[in-house]
């Protein structure tokens, strides 16, 4: 790894660490319903929205009502988006029809609608060859906001399960949703989008431009309201690009500075949310312990992926080509900026890559794949990332409890048999979904038909990567996989729904179990959870559980490919 890449990584993590406290404090105020500096402007809008929805600001819900609300909101959003996609041909303006060569078939529309309403934003299409501007705004940008706000609301309900005592209520979904949108997402997206335009990201409704190039050729240049989507796609940890190549497109991400802004947009809210968790429990050190685990895993990913990409492909180096693996990378980001983005987007459930992960070296591509398979416990999705991490922490606590023969406790709440069952149910959804669907794809003609660009172990990696990404609600891909077929559109949609709902429901149920309990006082027999020791237990649990679940699959894909590349298999 080059020293400058290293400093770049350190600088990024330092900026995130500095922003954790103010962001965490702000989130705590917003969701506790306290007055913030934006209340004067936003309170009237908030009240009007509650009237429209027919809810009151002090309404409370048990976990079932909360879950039903979340499901109803997601369902209606999905239906509306599906209808918009199917009817987009009726919408005026924007690119001429001749440029939109990908038809929005029922299976592609269903996949896309589910993809955006679950914050996955897996894209089986290329934006500039499929979508009209109205669809990008009313459909995709709007779902970027709404699905993200829904995730943040669920994350906060989960948090309340630990904070509250002797109650069955977890807050009101509609109130949390509205606050997430008005106080968190909209103001940040507003400032951030304008900053991106200033730095070069287009924001217009012009038709595609036909330029006569300097050498006398002709070039069609796709345009559009890019900036308004660009910031929220990262801030909401959605990640679906305006254009086919997402954050690698010079219009989406024109400079290293826009890249820095977009990466901070991904990481800062989920990282701050962990601090909110510690703060509201009056255990800030617990928040920092969990953040410590996250930073450690993040840094390890950067070092391994960065070293692999700088090392490059030996067969290419033998041709006298210097400078590491630049296939599928942009010069302005280089290897350092591409790796930073690969690690941030794969940990942050976002998937707004700025380089082609399909062309990464086997080990370089293994790292983002593992980040997604571990369940995106490092920062993770907006709101949802918190329970990804806490669930692993609880598994670790349970294992540690077994070793010392005590009923595990977490922040004064007992983790008894009913809670452990929910935690295990949660833990099994990911491996079950990803491995079964991957197995189905590699044993059926419909699945194998997707391998049009690469084959062999790398083809296997492409398929595993796709399902891991869908299950993790990430949405990044190894883009060589031809995924716009009924087979992939339907199976990916199943994985995306599992990743969104089959995780949120046990998480909310667990929160309800914990909220009902009182808080037991800490005794000498309590395993402290705000220490280095506990951090190491959590780190170890994450690696062991992940390795046990996925090592065989990883061995068939990236690991065999690495051996093939360095030449021990011919």
């Amino acid at each position: 790894m080059k020293p400058l890449d290293f400093f770049q990584y350190v600088a990024f993590l330092l900026i995130v660490a500095v922003l954790v406290v103010p962001v965490g404090n702000y989130l705590a105020r917003v969701f506790s319903g306290e007055t913030t500096f934006l209340s004067r402007i936003l309170r009237p809008a908030e009240k009007a929205l509650y009237r429209l929805m027919g809810v009151s600001a002090d309404q409370e819900m048990d976990w079932k009502s909360y879950t039903y609300s979340f499901l109803a909101f997601s369902l209606i959003g999905t239906i509306l988006l599906y209808a918009l996609l199917r009817l987009q041909y009726l919408l005026p303006g924007g690119p001429e029809a001749k440029y939109l060569v990908t038809p929005l078939t029922p299976d592609l529309s269903l996949n896309t609608a589910i993809s955006f309403s679950t914050t996955t934003t897996w894209q089986a299409y290329g934006g500039e060859t499929t979508m009209r501007y109205w669809t990008q705004m009313l459909g995709l940008a709007a779902q970027n906001f709404m699905a993200a706000a829904g995730g943040l609301a669920v994350g906060f309900a989960f948090l309340r399960g630990f904070v509250r005592q002797r109650t069955s209520s977890l807050g009101c979904f509609w109130v949390d949703l509205t606050r997430a949108l008005l106080y968190v997402l909209l103001p940040l997206a507003f400032i951030g989008s304008l900053a991106l335009v200033f730095l070069g990201v287009p924001q217009n409704f012009m038709p595609y431009v036909e330029a006569s190039t300097i050498e006398g050729g002709s070039q069609i240049i796709a345009q559009g309201p890019v900036a308004a989507l660009e910031l929220i796609k990262n801030l909401g940890t959605n990640g679906g690009g305006f254009f086919n190549v997402n954050g690698a497109h010079p219009y989406e991400n024109p400079t290293p500075l826009t890249n820095l802004i977009e990466m901070l947009a991904i990481a800062v809210l989920p990282a701050g949310f962990v601090y909110t968790f510690g703060k509201l429990l009056d255990r800030p050190r617990l928040g920092w312990t969990l953040l410590g685990v996250m930073f450690t895993l993040f840094a390890a990913g950067l070092l391994i992926c960065g070293t692999a990409e700088q090392g490059g492909i030996p067969q290419v180096a033998a041709l006298g080509v210097s400078g590491g693996n630049m296939e599928g990378k942009e010069v302005r980001f280089g290897i350092g900026g591409s790796v930073l983005t690969a690690i941030t987007t794969s940990n942050g459930a976002t998937g707004s890559y700025n380089s082609m992960h399909d062309s990464f070296t086997p080990i370089g591509g293994l790292v983002p794949l593992i980040n997604m398979l571990l369940g995106e416990i490092v920062f993770g999705g907006l709101g949802t990332g918190l329970y990804s991490m806490i669930m692993i922490a609880l598994v670790g606590l349970f294992l540690a409890g077994l070793m010392v023969g005590r009923t595990p406790e977490f922040v004064g709440k007992t983790i008894g048999p009913p809670e452990v069952k929910l935690i295990l149910l949660y833990s099994l959804v990911g491996p079950g979904t990803v491995l079964l669907l991957t197995a189905l794809a590699v044993t059926t003609p419909g699945g194998l038909a997707g391998l049009t660009t690469n084959s062999g172990p790398h083809g296997f990696s492409e398929i595993l990567y796709g399902y891991a990404s869908s299950m993790a609600n990430n949405g990044q891909n190894m883009a060589g996989l031809s995924a716009n077929t009924p087979f992939y559109n339907f199976t990916m949609a199943i994985a995306m729904m599992a990743g969104r709902f089959a995780l949120a429901i046990p998480a909310l149920a667990l929160a309800s179990h914990l909220a009902v309990q009182g808080r037991r006082p800490t005794t000498v027999g309590t395993l402290p959870t705000d220490t280095l020791q506990f951090g190491v237990i959590v780190l170890g649990t994450a690696i062991i559980v992940g390795a046990l679940s996925f090592l065989p699959a990883l061995a068939i894909g990236p690991i065999v490919e690495q051996l093939k590349m360095i030449g021990s298999l011919r």
């Binding site: 217009n204 006569s212 300097i214 006398g216 309201p225």
Partner: protein
Amino acid sequence: MLRQLRPALMSVLAFTIITGLFFPFAITGISQVLFPKQARGSLIEQNGKIIGSELIGQTFAQPGYFHSRPSAAGGGYDAGASSGSNLGPTSSKLIKGIEDDPATKDADESYSGIPQLAVAYRKENNLAADASVPADAVTRSASGLDPEISPENAALQAPRVAAARKLGEDAVRKLVDENTAGRTLGLFGEPRVNVVLLNLALDKAAPDSKPKPAASPAP
């Protein structure tokens, strides 16, 4: 669940209007006033014609221009269909390339892998057959629209461009330097040379040696 249908419907509708209509229109309105050039795609106009965008790479084939990186977007730098090659690290197409099959006379199956691209790069720049080549010169970018090359790549092309333009190498190097951007805050990203702006600067500095349009004009 039925009781939640009203708030679900109303919230989706209200938020769609706020975030999918008001928000993008507000951003468009403000940015068209404050940053009109960037909002309109950083397009470059010359004699009333749009000749490209500062941010979007173009194909350059003539010796008198600096050449962009290889591109996998459409037929090359198709900014209506961005794409990378997506070839994996053990892909024989990438590592070895594909030769034209003489059996099929009409179809050209050939694909320039990294070896062919490296040979062509050395040949056009009069480099020794074993000369080291910067990676960005022989690899396809992620977007297929990368407007930039590395300073090392530009330095190797400078003598060729100077000769074709009948300019001093120093003059060409000076133009390269003027169109080179460093790392942001000294840390983020990589130093880079914008090929589109550099070639425009060349045309401005040496209008007499401007290469004649070779590619056929737009159909």
